[in-house]
């Protein structure tokens, strides 16, 4: 199982700050597809992901126990 963290407008649109996904290992892109399947209004194609707090690419692998976060463009400062 992997944990999915959501922030900013993604958190508000989905109505949760985290989700779980049953998988032994898949790509970041597959997690994006999983979310789109369950929340069809959410499109994560242009959204950055971080796996275990490091920025990741769509083809990077997420393993059981990992935490993946979807990060809208940041606006701190």
């Amino acid at each position: 199982m992997i944990k999915i963290l959501l922030f900013a407008y993604l958190q508000e649109e989905i109505g949760k700050d985290s989700l779980s996904m049953e998988t032994d290992g898949c790509s970041v892109q597959q997690v994006k597809n999983y979310i789109h399947t369950h929340y069809p209004t959410i499109n994560l194609d242009q959204v950055m992901a971080a796996v275990n707090e490091e920025f990741s690419f769509d083809e990077d692998v997420v393993k059981d126990g990992d935490v993946i976060a979807f990060l809208p463009p940041v606006s701190g400062g």
């Binding site: 407008y9 976060a69 940041v74 606006s75």
Partner: protein, 148 residues
């Protein structure tokens, strides 16, 4: 007082606490950047702001900016505190303090820090106006995240 050089807090930031963290006997110059909540942006009136952070990752990325600065400007010391939660007009959102033996490095490193915060630190801002709200993205007007 919180003694961490890089931190995310949900209470008002005391600027002087951040400054104290970078002081030492060989410091000749300290530059400080204080980001505050402005009332007008492009003519539109902001009532308040809400900042949200992916806190554990944000602290790591602030520390990474500190490492980048030490590499580019040796002998500097950096401390950054960013606030999250609801902020009103004039409240302080972020304080960056950089100390250095000489002033040029202190200015350059400080300006570098705020640019990098807007690129790689997972913190988001929601604006509250009279007629609605919006999560603000990508103030640099380009896709701001980069890969590790």
């Amino acid at each position: 007082m919180n003694t961490e050089l890089f931190s995310i807090v949900d209470v008002p930031i005391i600027t002087d606490d951040v400054i104290q963290k970078v002081k030492s006997v060989n410091v000749g110059a300290i530059t400080v950047f204080i980001g505050t909540v402005r009332e007008l942006t492009n003519g539109k009136k902001t009532l308040s702001l809400e900042y949200q952070a992916y806190e554990s990752m944000a602290v790591k990325k602030l520390a990474k900016i500190g490492e980048e600065i030490i590499e580019k400007w040796p002998n500097t010391k950096v401390a950054i505190t960013h606030r999250v939660g609801k902020l009103n007009i004039s409240d302080v959102a972020v304080v960056i303090a950089v100390s250095s033996p000489h002033r040029e490095a202190a200015y350059e490193a400080n300006a570098f820090a705020i640019e990098r915060i807007k690129q790689i630190v997972p913190i988001w801002k929601k604006e509250y106006w009279e007629d609605g709200t919006k999560w603000i993205g990508d103030q640099l007007e380009k896709q701001s995240f980069e890969s590790k």
